[in-house]
C-alpha cells in the first residue's frame, strides 16, 4: 500500500521496495548496549536470515521491529510504516513468532488460533481458522491442549497462529529450534512458497543449512552487524581462506596445531579439520611443516559460511576485550 503512506515520505521512492528498511537501531538494557546502531534492508518477498551467537541481540532487534520494545534510537520503516510512530498499523500486518512458546497452554489448538484471529479481527474467522489448521497439519489435533503438544508441534502451532491474519511480513524468531529434519524441510518449503506469494520473511536461526536457504542474511555478534549479503558475498567479503584436512588422527593434529599458535582458527568437524586465516600466504606457511606427514590429506577450499561466522565472532570478541 505505498500510496497510503501518511508519514513523511522517506528519501527516494525505491524505499517502498523494502519490507524492512531501518537504520541506526540502538537498544540498551540498563546501560549495556544490546543492539548497536544496526541497519537492515529487506526487500519485499525476500527470505532474510538473521544469525548470530546467543545473546547477540537478534530477539531484541526483532522485538523492536514489531513494536514490542522501544529502541533508544532508530529510524526507518517497516512495510512502509514508521517504526516509531505507526506501531499499531505495523502490528496488524506483521506476523511475529516468538522464540519461546508463548501461546496459552491451557487453551486448545483451535482456541488459541481463534483467539489470535479474533484479536486481529480476521474476516470470515471460522473459515480462516479452519484453513490454517488444515494447512499446518493440525487436522485431528484441534482439541488438544497446546500445553500437551510436543516441542516441535508447539513451534508449528506458533507458526500457524502468526499466519492466521495473513501477514505481509513474517518475523520468525528461531522457528525451527527443536524441530525434526523432515518438519524443518517442510517448513522451509512453506517459507519459500510464502516468498513466491510476495510475503517477506525475516528469520533468525542457528542452523547453517537454514542460512543457506535464505536469499540474503545478516550476521550480528555483541549487538554489532558483522556481515550481510548473500552467502557468496559474506564469504568473499570476509577475505578468508580455508584449508581442509582429512584422514589420519585429526584430534592429535588439532592439538598440535593449536599449540603452535600460528593458525588463526582451527575448527574440528566430524571427519575433517577446518583451518582458517585472513592471510592466505601466512596460513600456507603455517601449515607447511605439517603437510609432509603421511595419512593426512590437505585441500585448499573456499571458506564455509560457518568458518566465516566463527572467525567473525572470535575476532569481534578479541577486539572487544
Amino acid at each position: 500500500m505505498p500510496g497510503k503512506m501518511n508519514s513523511e515520505p522517506t528519501a527516494g521512492t525505491v524505499k517502498t521496495d523494502f519490507a524492512i528498511d531501518v537504520s541506526n537501531v540502538t537498544k540498551s538494557f540498563s546501560g549495556k548496549v544490546v543492539v548497536n546502531s544496526l541497519s537492515m534492508q529487506v526487500k519485499k518477498g525476500e527470505i532474510y536470515g538473521f544469525l548470530g551467537p546467543n545473546g547477540s541481540g537478534k530477539t531484541t532487534f526483532i522485538r523492536i521491529l514489531c513494536g514490542l520494545l522501544t529502541p533508544d534510537s532508530a529510524s526507518g520503516t517497516c512495510l512502509g510504516l514508521d517504526i516509531l510512530k505507526e506501531q499499531d498499523a505495523i502490528k496488524r500486518r506483521v506476523g511475529y513468532m516468538t522464540q519461546r512458546f508463548s501461546l496459552y497452554e491451557e487453551l486448545t489448538v483451535t482456541e488459541n488460533i481463534e483467539l489470535i484471529a479474533r484479536l486481529y479481527n480476521v474476516p470470515e474467522r471460522k473459515k480462516a481458522v479452519r484453513e490454517i489448521i488444515e494447512t499446518t497439519g493440525f487436522g485431528g489435533r484441534e482439541k488438544q491442549l497446546a500445553g500437551t503438544l510436543s516441542g516441535g508441534w508447539k513451534q508449528r502451532l506458533s507458526l500457524a497462529a502468526c499466519l492466521v491474519h495473513k501477514p505481509e511480513l513474517l518475523l520468525l524468531d528461531e522457528p525451527t529450534a527443536g524441530v525434526d529434519p523432515k518438519a524443518r524441510r517442510d517448513f522451509w518449503e512453506e517459507i519459500h512458497n510464502f516468498a513466491n506469494a510476495g510475503i517477506t520473511t525475516l528469520v533468525s536461526t542457528h542452523y547453517m543449512d537454514e542460512a543457506e536457504r535464505c536469499h540474503r542474511l545478516a550476521y550480528i555478534a555483541y549487538g554489532d552487524l558483522l556481515a550481510k549479503g548473500t552467502i557468496q558475498e559474506v564469504v568473499d567479503g570476509s577475505g578468508l581462506s580455508t584449508w581442509i584436512v582429512t584422514g589420519g588422527n585429526l584430534g592429535a593434529l588439532s592439538v598440535e596445531l593449536r599449540k603452535s599458535g600460528t593458525i588463526e582458527q582451527i575448527v574440528v568437524f566430524g571427519d575433517s579439520l577446518h583451518l582458517t586465516g585472513s592471510d592466505p600466504e601466512q596460513l600456507e606457511k603455517a601449515i607447511e611443516p605439517y603437510r609432509s606427514r603421511p595419512d593426512y590429506y590437505w585441500k585448499r577450499s573456499r571458506s564455509g559460511i560457518e568458518d566465516v561466522f566463527i572467525y567473525l565472532t572470535e575476532k569481534k570478541a578479541r577486539d572487544n576485550y
Binding site: 513494536g67 520494545l69 511475529y96 487453551l107 479481527n121
Partner: protein, 378 residues
C-alpha cells in the same frame, strides 16, 4: 483521552472468551473462588453461632445465705457459668477480670438476703469482660431468668412475689461497653471476601501472562490496553456475583440473616465495588514483575482494607489518620452500604456519599492502570 480511542468490541470479546476458557480449565483457582466464601462464612459463622459455655466466673459474696447459694447453684446447673472461685474483695475480683482469669464477676451486696425478704429489690452486680461480645452474649441473656427462677423456688406459697421484681440485676460491661452485634460480621465478610479474591486473582492473572510469555503474544497483536484490561475484568465480575449470592444464601440459611433493604440495590452497588477491586488487581499486575510480587502487593492492599475499613475495629473508634486511609479504601464504603442495606434497609440516598467515593476510587484506579499498562515489554 488517547487510551480510550479505537476500542474494538471484538477484540475485547476475544479476551473475555479466552479468560473464561482459562478459568474453566483452572479448576483449582475456581474451586478457591467458590471455596473461600464458604469456608470463611462457616468459620466466622461458627464464631457467631458459638454458644460458649462454662465461662469462668468469680463470686464476691458479702452475704452468705440460702438465697445466694441457690442462685449460685442455679448458675452452675445452667452450664453457662463455671464458678471458679469465691473471693473476698471486690478488688481481687476486678484484678482477675483484668487478667482474663474470669469472664464474669457476680457480687452479692452485704444486705442481700435481708432486702430480698423485705421485697426491697436488692442489687446484684454482674461485671463481665465484654471485649468479645459474642462470647458473653448468651450467658448475659440467660442470667436474669436464671436468678429469678432460682429465687422463685425459695419464695413459694405465702412468700410468693410477682416475677422479675425480686432482684435488680446490674450488668456492667468492662472493656467494650458498646456491644458490636454479631450480625455486623456477615455483611462485612461479604466485602472482605470480595476484596480478597478479586484483588489476588486478577493481580495474578496478568502477571502470569508476563511470566509465561503470553504477554508477548498479546502485545504483538493489535489488541489495546483497555480491551485487555476490561476483558480480564468482566469474567471476574461474574465470579464476584456468584460469591455474593453464595454468601447471602448461606447467611440466610445458616444464620437467618435477612436482607432488610433492596437486594437489587445491593447487587447494583456491588458491581462498582467488585470492579474497583478488580481494577486494583489489574493495576497491581501492571506494576509487579512476577507473581510473587503480585501477591505481596495484593497483601499490601488487603491488610489495610481488612484493618482500617471498619470490619475489624469500629470505624469511629479509629484515630483520625487511620480514618483518612480507611476513607480511601473501597471496602470502607462498601461496608457502610452493605450493612445499611442488609441490616437497616437503607435506600440509595442514605449512602449516596459513600457510593460516590467508591465510584471515584474506581475511575482513578482504572486510569492509573491504563497509564501503567505497558504496550511494550520494557
Amino acid at each position: 483521552m488517547k487510551i480510550f480511542t479505537g476500542f474494538s468490541f471484538k477484540r475485547f470479546a476475544a479476551v473475555v472468551i479466552k479468560e473464561f476458557i482459562q478459568m474453566r480449565r483452572d479448576r483449582m483457582t475456581f474451586a478457591m473462588m467458590i471455596g473461600i466464601p464458604v469456608i470463611q462464612l462457616v468459620i466466622f459463622g461458627y464464631v457467631i453461632n458459638s454458644n460458649p459455655k462454662f465461662l469462668p466466673t468469680a463470686i464476691v459474696c458479702a452475704d452468705h445465705s440460702p438465697f445466694s447459694r441457690s442462685i449460685i447453684s442455679a448458675m452452675r446447673t445452667s452450664e453457662y457459668f463455671s464458678i471458679a472461685q469465691e473471693v473476698d474483695s471486690e478488688q481481687q475480683a476486678a484484678d482477675m477480670l483484668r487478667r482474663s482469669e474470669v469472664q464474669f464477676v457476680l457480687s452479692f451486696p452485704e444486705n442481700f438476703s435481708r432486702e430480698l425478704v423485705k421485697g426491697q429489690r436488692p442489687q446484684l452486680l454482674l461485671e463481665l469482660d465484654a471485649a468479645d461480645p459474642a462470647t458473653v452474649a448468651y450467658a448475659v441473656a440467660a442470667v436474669e431468668g436464671l436468678v429469678d427462677s432460682a429465687l422463685q423456688k425459695d419464695f413459694k406459697g405465702a412468700l410468693r412475689r410477682p416475677p422479675d421484681s425480686l432482684v435488680d440485676i446490674r450488668i456492667h460491661r468492662c472493656f467494650n461497653p458498646e456491644i458490636k452485634t454479631q450480625i455486623n460480621i456477615v455483611p462485612g465478610l461479604l466485602g472482605v471476601i470480595l476484596t480478597m479474591t478479586m484483588v489476588f486473582i486478577t493481580s495474578l492473572a496478568v502477571t502470569r501472562e508476563k511470566e509465561r510469555g503470553t504477554m508477548e503474544t498479546l502485545l504483538s497483536t493489535p489488541v489495546k490496553p483497555l480491551e485487555v484490561m476490561t476483558g480480564k475484568i468482566v469474567p471476574y465480575i461474574l465470579v464476584g456475583y456468584i460469591q455474593i449470592t453464595l454468601v447471602l444464601g448461606l447467611a440466610e440459611t445458616l444464620f437467618d440473616i435477612d436482607i432488610n433493604g433492596s437486594i437489587l440495590l445491593l447487587y447494583l452497588t456491588a458491581f462498582f465495588f467488585i470492579t474497583a477491586n478488580l481494577a486494583v488487581g489489574v493495576t497491581i499486575s501492571t506494576l509487579a514483575k512476577n507473581q510473587l510480587q503480585a501477591v505481596q502487593m495484593s497483601v499490601f492492599f488487603f491488610l489495610p482494607s481488612l484493618l482500617l475499613s471498619g470490619f475489624m475495629f469500629p470505624f469511629r473508634g479509629m484515630p483520625e489518620w487511620a480514618q483518612w486511609i480507611g476513607n480511601v479504601l473501597p471496602l470502607t464504603h462498601f461496608l457502610v452500604i452493605v450493612r445499611g442495606i442488609i441490616l437497616r434497609g437503607a435506600d440509595f440516598m442514605d449512602f449516596a456519599g459513600h457510593f460516590l467515593a467508591l465510584s471515584i476510587f474506581l475511575v482513578a484506579v482504572i486510569i492509573i492502570g491504563l497509564l501503567r499498562y505497558r504496550k511494550t515489554l520494557d
